[in-house]
């Protein structure tokens, strides 16, 4: 069984499903027996979501207009 430190180190990759099958199995075995790491997993999920939510942003109309204008101005 892997240690807590090893499991926690791979949690984000686990969440993003970029670990291979054997690593996934090791992490899941650990999580099944470790309540603290389950808390870490829940927190990592929320932190990951916090970052994703912060990516969403309306682009101001005037900025978009100026950028489109730049594109149109590029020599045809």
């Amino acid at each position: 069984m892997i240690s807590c430190a090893e499991a926690v180190r791979r949690l984000w990759e686990y969440i993003d499903d970029v670990v291979d099958a054997s690593e996934r199995a090791l992490i899941e075995t650990h999580l099944a027996r470790c309540r603290r790491c389950c808390g870490e997993l829940e927190f990592a999920h929320e932190l990951r979501r916090t970052l994703t939510d912060a990516a969403q942003e309306d682009v101001p109309d005037d900025v978009l207009r100026r950028l489109r204008h730049t594109l149109e101005e590029l020599e045809r």
């Binding site: 984000w12 970029v18 970052l51 912060a54 900025v63 950028l67 590029l74």
Partner: protein, 198 residues
């Protein structure tokens, strides 16, 4: 595809570039905002100009969005290098040992909370999160923004940055740690750890 493109007139290629870039503008701006903050519009302008000057490299429409992001990231890096701002020198001490989860549990900022960790995150507005991101050094911020906020794969980011995959994976790991550490510091500095502050 390459043979077709080789015979493609320059004007048609520029028109294709314009179409792709127009469609990608919002995404390019959002990425630039997270990397260079207030200089985002200028960085996207740089990107459009460089993309136009390199339009000969635009061969495959499906790869065009990633091609544009790669150009944008390099424009952002150029701008960050020119800034030479103190924020790049932000102290990131003992990163490997830092755990936000454990720090929150140990410091217990909200003694009456039964969901301490989630309550900590709830104190951060979207703007707070963006401010924390801007505190990260460029070499951590860029992979974090591209992978965790804009859905690129680490392999794609490695290609964009001309860096080995192992380097990008290591920066992502340390970038996460740095982000967590800066969240705690930001919360401390901005009084987010006092119950009922918002």
């Amino acid at each position: 595809m390459d043979a077709v493109c080789a015979a493609e007139p320059q004007s048609a290629r520029v028109e294709r570039f314009r179409d792709v870039a127009r469609e990608q503008l919002p995404r390019l701006y959002r990425i630039a905002r997270r990397i260079v903050g207030d200089e985002a519009e200028d960085a996207v302008q740089d990107c459009l100009l460089k993309g136009y000057q390199s339009v000969d490299q635009l061969r495959d429409d499906t790869a065009a969005p990633a091609w544009l992001v790669r150009i944008l990231v390099n424009c952002c890096r150029d701008r960050l290098r020119r800034r030479a701002r103190s924020q790049e020198d932000v102290e990131l001490d003992a990163l490997e040992e830092f755990s936000l989860y454990r720090t929150i549990a140990y410091e217990d900022p909200f003694p009456y909370s039964d969901s301490l960790h989630l309550d900590f995150l709830a104190e951060f507005s979207v703007d707070d999160v963006r401010q924390v991101l801007l505190r990260l050094p460029e070499h951590y911020r860029i992979p974090v923004v591209l992978v965790y906020m804009h859905g690129f794969l680490a392999r794609e980011v490695a290609e964009m940055l001309d860096a080995p995959l192992g380097t990008v994976l290591s920066r992502l790991h340390r970038g996460r740690k740095a982000f967590e550490q800066q969240m705690w510091r930001y919360a401390t500095e901005h009084g987010l750890l006092r119950e009922g502050v918002r």
